[in-house]
Amino acid sequence: MEEKKANNNTDHRMLQIVVFKLGNEEYGLHIDQIKEVVITPVITKMPQTPDYLKGVANIRGNVIAIFDLEERFGLIKNASTESAHKYTLVVESEDVKLGLLVNEVPNTISVNRSDLDESVGIINDTNTESNYIRGIIRSGDRLIILIDIFKVIDQEMTQSTRKTASVAA
């Protein structure tokens, strides 16, 4: 009985993906990693940080770091910077909470697990060690890049700390 149920689950498990646009591409995050979407608050710049770390902001009494993934991934920015980065996607893991700048309210889609292709050979950034791309989702005409945001940040922060330590060496 239970076995059957488990089977059913794996067969028809739907993935809930939150999709947002970065540059001209669509990126997706697993819904479990998302806490909320808020209107971007005032961001305070931090010294000694890479450019794509926009600073810290107060979101409901919590001070969290805000990232700009467009800048991080080196994607061309939208021409209209006025409306850009209007929303902040708050993502949360067990030990870290951070904000991602997005241009429009992200939407949530359900995709079939079979639509997720995890084995694609993606050419990584030359200077990144681990792959933060979890796979590519095909949904109709759309192509969504599913990423593990905490891998991106983890890697980045350790790297930039190293860089900071040896500035201009």
Partner: protein, 594 residues
């Protein structure tokens, strides 16, 4: 003094009552399971502690009674006494009397305890007789009957009489078992921290409301005056709860001194001053290791051997004073010894061989600067490593700790007279007085603990010197740094040039007037040029969150009334950074931020 005694008494009563209820609990446990040795052990320990504490406070009744109980439990533990129902009854009665004695401290009533004490003594004595009898009977079976008869007889015949007489008194008081509560509550520090965090958020919220109402008319500040008052009262009450007397920590150092002195074969006595000074519990916890290092250092380096002291006309016994006092917003802890003082030549020599300073600067360093070298990592004037000192660790722990909590170290030393180490500590880590300032449209806070003064200078007052800038203020030459340059250094890492610290200076208008905050830390004085000075404010500093928790220039954040985040500058690190730039001659030479 009165207050302090009262407080100690209160604490003793609270602890004793806790012991008392623990004894009750354990005793019932043993009654059910007589073979429960761990409970008996616990009982023995508790009564032992109680005895010690009571004796220390001068409560003879409690001390005597718990002493006899301790002996009794020791016998039980060693299997010499097997408790039966009757003896349990006696024990319970004894413990009730103990409870009464403890409660009597508060209201001063007289509690008779001699009767029950005698009864316990009899119990104890009898058990000893029994065990003696047992051993005797093994040795000489024939005589055993006679010997037991003679010894037990007087006991059983004499004691019941005075027992009965005093029992009558006891019975009246022991008629009913009362459940009593202590007037003190033990709270885990974690809960207090949580409470303080909440209060911090309340303050921030209050500031936010006040700020938003400010534009709405003049009445706003009146309207919220009550809110302001209550929230700040609340804040100070919570902070007050976290205050503890330094004596609690200081008293532990008698042992530290004794042990260290024993290893070094020196005669050292520790004298405590101002033990009733109150300080935030967390600060006390953080500095405890540093104090251990400093005190061991006094014993190891400061105090001479007895014969050397006598030869120099000093008493053979060295003295270390450990004192604390309140100085406006801060608590000053002083560790003073009457030893030989710092050997500046030796420090200089050692620092040179260890590469901490360069030959050309060695002669220029003042005694103050030299003395601070002993806090550098790896520095030690000792040639031999022993258990206490010489490893070169320890003193840098002190420095790091002081940096982390915003404390300041000062050393004064008189050759042959001794050394004084002065630590200026924040009395609370929760709230910091800060100076808010604006820089590149962001608001930053500098803890007032580091700020010396605020000055304004014209560009013409500032001169280029080497790779940096200097200005003269009140007859002193101070280094001037555009804070913006320091922060920009990170973002423009590709374009680092030799005169980095002069770049903003070159760009400003020749007649510009500059706001400068003069900060100082461990003898380094720097004037930070900022865009605008805002106000002085008490802030609740929150630690940096992941993933930005590694950023060294910033020690924490706070939320302003506007809801915006304000960064608190880490002055010790900024100064280290700036001086590591200039110390290397050229800005672009290898340096690390750590």
């Amino acid at each position: 003094m009165q207050d302090k005694d009262g407080e100690y008494k209160e604490i003793f009563v609270a602890e004793a009552l806790e012991n008392y209820s623990e004894i009750n609990r354990l005793l019932t446990q043993i009654e059910k399971r007589p073979d429960d040795l761990s409970s008996v052990n616990a009982l023995f320990r508790i009564t032992h502690t109680l005895k010690g504490n009571a004796a220390g406070m001068g409560f003879t009744g409690i001390a005597e009674l718990s002493h006899i109980l301790e002996d009794l439990f020791a016998e039980v533990r060693d299997g010499k006494i097997l408790l039966d129902t009757q003896q349990f009854a006696t024990l319970y009665k004894a413990i009730d009397v103990l409870g009464n004695l403890i409660n009597a401290i508060k209201d001063g009533t007289e509690v008779k305890y001699k009767g029950i004490k005698t009864k316990l003594e009899v119990l104890l004595k009898r058990s000893k007789e029994v065990s003696e009898k047992a051993t005797a009977s093994i040795n000489r079976q024939d005589d055993s009957t006679i010997s037991t008869d003679t010894t037990i007889d007087p006991l059983t015949s004499t004691n019941p009489i005075d027992l009965l007489a005093e029992d009558a008194d006891d019975v009246i008081q022991d008629e009913e078992t009362k459940v009593s509560f202590s007037d003190l509550v033990q709270v885990p520090v974690r809960k207090l921290d949580n409470l303080l965090n909440l209060v911090g958020e309340l303050i921030i919220e209050k500031d936010r409301i006040l700020a938003s109402q400010l534009g709405n008319g003049l009445n706003a500040s009146n309207e919220y005056a009550r809110l302001s008052r209550i929230s700040s009262d609340l804040q100070y009450s919570v902070m007050d709860v976290r205050l503890v007397q330094v004596g609690f920590l200081f008293n532990k150092f008698h042992r530290v001194v004794r042990d260290a002195a024993a290893i070094e074969h020196k005669n050292v006595v520790l004298k405590l001053i101002g033990t009733d000074t109150e300080i935030d519990r967390n600060v006390l916890q953080v500095i405890s290791d540093s104090l251990i290092h400093l005190i061991r250092n006094c014993v190891g380096h400061g105090i001479e051997q007895a014969d050397e002291r006598v030869a120099n006309g000093k008493p053979a016994e060295g003295t270390i004073w450990l004192g604390a006092r309140i100085d406006t917003d801060a608590v000053i802890v002083e560790i003073r010894d009457d030893g030989k003082g710092l050997d500046f030549e030796r420090i200089k020599k050692k620092a040179l061989t260890q590469g901490l300073i360069k030959a050309e600067e060695a002669d220029k360093l003042s005694q103050d600067e030299l003395s601070l070298l002993i806090f550098e990592p790896g520095f030690s004037t000792m040639d031999n490593v022993n258990a206490i000192s010489g490893r070169g660790v320890g003193m840098d722990v002190v420095k790091r700790t002081m940096n982390s909590i915003g404390g300041i170290i000062k050393i004064a030393s008189e050759p042959g007279q001794g050394t004084t180490v002065q630590l200026t500590l924040p009395s609370s880590m929760a709230v910091k007085s800060c100076l808010l300032l604006e820089l590149s449209n962001e608001t930053y806070a500098i803890p007032l603990a580091y700020t010396e003064s605020v000055i304004s200078l014209y560009k013409s007052n500032i001169h280029k010197a080497g790779g940096g800038l200097v200005a003269t203020h009140l007859g002193k030459n101070i280094a001037i740094v555009f804070l913006k340059d320091v922060f920009d250094q990170r973002t423009e890492r590709s374009a680092i040039h030799a005169n980095l610290l002069q770049s903003s200076f070159d760009q400003i208008h020749p007649e510009e007037k500059l706001d400068i905050v003069v900060v100082s830390f461990s003898n380094r004085v720097v004037g930070f040029v900022v865009d605008k000075l805002l106000q002085q404010k008490e802030i609740v500093e929150k630690p940096l969150v992941k993933p930005v928790d590694k950023i060294k220039f910033i020690s924490g954040v706070t939320i302003l009334g506007s809801g915006n985040v304000c960064l608190v500058l880490n002055v010790p690190h900024l100064l280290n950074f700036i001086f590591s730039l200039t110390a290397n001659g050229k800005v672009s030479k290898n340096f690390t931020l750590n």
